[in-house]
């Protein structure tokens, strides 16, 4: 007896995407907003469904596909991220003109790809899900057809993405060559049985590289700033929170359920990667003057923090990973939502456009400040709780130096976050009229604000959730 209804979310999202696509074709131009509402409602419904049977799980197709609390956790993450971004982009999508509804459907397909990635327990399915997501993002990041930056971003993303997915594939092929199967459980069994082969290690590291591109870990991070700056802001936001989280989800699942069989101790390797990512991301973010680009570098640094959880690979570390990925959604989307609003007002996301915002739009300014500080890990905001988990895990695993680097750098990062706050609070703006926000954007802002503060002041509930999610990998 297989619980096919547990596949409901994927199916629902796919159908929703097709439906929205159809809407775009059928509805007249003015009715294209309907696509937005439809997407919102649909996503909300799916999200509710997933949350309702969070704890249910099943294994499908001889282990090829697997629904468990881990999967559900990330499904929730993706769906809520998508929901928030659909909300925040209500004004922004005006720039997409005729192609608005298709934009919604691409977002949905990307979401579907991510859900498949986390659900998959098999290399092939992982690969297909990943490509589904990535190719949607190629299109989405080039979606502002009149904008030179957007097109350039799309092309750059395509080239690097194709290259790294080829690398990933090559690694997969080598792993397959050593194990003779693509199902995680099978690979694990085969590897633990069979003799040690150098080629396996080669495959592993190439897979690390391929996924490292998705999470933009140093040195696979170079694309991030350009794409983040060029892509439409909602896409950037989605890219930064969801695609990264998906990459981490797959990475964690593979590392924890497959690689333990291999003799290579990959923790120090990842530790160095994490340290480099944190350092370079933060340092390079310091001199940025474009807020989107600055957020891109900061997101590199954040990836480094999340990676720390994987390095630690113990309960606290993994809980930190999930916790951080989740709060990162709210904090980062909040930041990007305000950025998008400013961009719609001023036409660009340069720091000057933010100056004096606190007078023209007190609430968004406050939200941006708080979200950025949460990213910096200042209590009592969500980021602090997440970092606490991560670095407790790291220290427990004996990576004291990593904890030092991470915390010092996160304090240095306060500098560039506060620069934005400074511009907003003591800068002077050319125009004085108040920034008007549409209702959905305000909703998104309020949600982000509330979540960021609540998760920081009272992390209990979410940590319980993560507890359930990591129980698969670590007994007790």
């Amino acid at each position: 007896m297989m619980y096919y209804q547990l596949l409901g979310p994927e199916i629902a999202v796919a159908l929703l995407g097709l439906l929205v696509l159809a809407c775009g074709l059928l509805l007249p131009a003015h009715g294209k907003n309907a696509a937005g509402y439809l997407t919102t409602i649909g996503l909300a419904a799916v999200l509710a469904a997933v949350i309702l049977n969070f704890s249910q799980g099943a294994i499908f197709f001889a282990g090829v596909y697997q629904i468990d609390s881990y999967t559900n956790f990330f499904r929730i993450l993706f769906l809520s991220a998508a929901l928030l971004i659909i909300l925040m982009s209500s004004r922004y999508t005006g720039w997409f003109g005729e192609r608005k509804s298709e934009w919604f459907s691409f977002m949905l397909f990307a979401t579907l790809g991510m859900m498949i990635m986390v659900g998959a327990a098999d290399l092939i399915t992982v690969y297909v899900g990943l490509e589904l997501m990535t190719i949607s993002f190629y299109i989405l990041s080039a979606y502002l057809l009149n904008d030179r930056l957007s097109a350039e971003a799309g092309l750059k993303y395509l080239i690097i993405g194709a290259l790294s997915s080829a690398v990933l594939l090559f690694g997969m092929s080598l792993v397959y060559a050593c194990s003779g199967t693509t199902v995680f459980t099978g690979i694990y069994a085969a590897l633990s049985a069979g003799p040690e082969r150098p080629v396996l290690l080669a495959g592993m590291v190439m897979m690390i590289a391929g996924l490292g591109f998705k999470i933009s870990a140093v040195p696979f991070h170079m694309w991030t700033p350009d794409i983040y700056q060029g892509a439409p802001t909602p896409v950037t936001a989605y890219l930064s929170v969801a695609s990264k989280a998906a990459g981490f989800a797959v990475l964690a699942r593979i590392f924890l359920s497959v690689f333990p069989a291999a003799s290579l101790d990959w923790h120090p390797l990842l530790a160095v990667m994490a340290a480099l990512t944190i350092i370079i991301g933060n340092l390079t973010a310091l001199p940025q003057t474009n807020v989107k680009r600055m957020l891109a570098y900061s997101s590199i640094a954040q990836a480094g923090y999340i990676l720390v959880g994987l390095v630690a690979a113990n309960t606290y570390g993994l809980k930190g990973l999930l916790f951080y990925a989740m709060l990162y959604v709210f904090s980062n989307v909040g930041a990007f939502a305000v950025t998008a609003a400013v961009e719609v007002e001023a036409g660009n996301a340069d720091l000057e456009s933010f100056s004096g915002l606190s007078r023209r739009a007190p609430m968004p300014a406050a939200v941006l400040t708080i979200c950025l500080l949460s990213l910096a890990g200042i209590p009592p905001l969500a980021g602090f709780a997440g970092k606490f988990y991560l670095f407790s895990g790291a220290i427990q695993a004996g990576y004291l130096w990593l904890a030092f680097i991470g915390l010092l750098m996160s304090m240095i990062s306060v500098y560039y976050y506060l620069n934005v706050a400074k511009a907003m609070y003591i800068g002077t703006s050319r125009q004085e009229e108040r920034v008007t926000l549409s209702f959905p954007v305000q909703t998104a802002l309020w949600i982000c604000l509330f979540a960021t503060i609540f998760l920081g002041v009272y992390p209990g509930p979410l940590s319980e959730l993560t507890e359930l999610a990591v129980r698969l990998f670590i007994a007790g």
């Binding site: 490509e131 030179r148 350039e152 092309l155 750059k156 290259l163 080829a166 092929s173 080598l174 060029g230």
Partner: protein, 102 residues
């Protein structure tokens, strides 16, 4: 006696050639083609591994099929991207696309 390792080495060689192409060509389309080379290398690996390890199953071929499908999609989107950027810049030279840097 030709073994699996020879096929893998061939795949590796194709892969390396593709990588070099990605580095060295200025024309975006050529870079795309080099990526296709890399994917083909992967396919060679899959099929050969499939043949040598489990001739009575088709997992590797299945993977190869998916790779081909994805590659096709990738190429079409990629070419479309190149065309749209060509419409803006009248160029497909990657060295020209550096509006965003630092």
């Amino acid at each position: 006696m030709i073994g699996l390792n020879h096929y893998l080495l061939l795949g590796t060689a194709l892969f390396g050639i593709g990588v070099y192409g990605v580095f060295a060509k200025r024309n975006a389309i050529a870079v795309l083609m080099s990526v296709e080379l890399m994917l083909n290398a992967v396919n060679v690996n899959f099929v050969a591994i499939n043949r040598f390890l489990q001739p009575d199953a088709a997992l590797g071929q299945l993977f190869a099929i998916f790779v081909i499908v994805v590659a096709a999609a990738e190429v079409s989107v990629g070419l479309a991207l190149i065309i749209s950027i060509y419409r803006q810049r009248q160029s497909v030279n990657l060295n020209d696309f550096n509006l965003m840097k630092w």
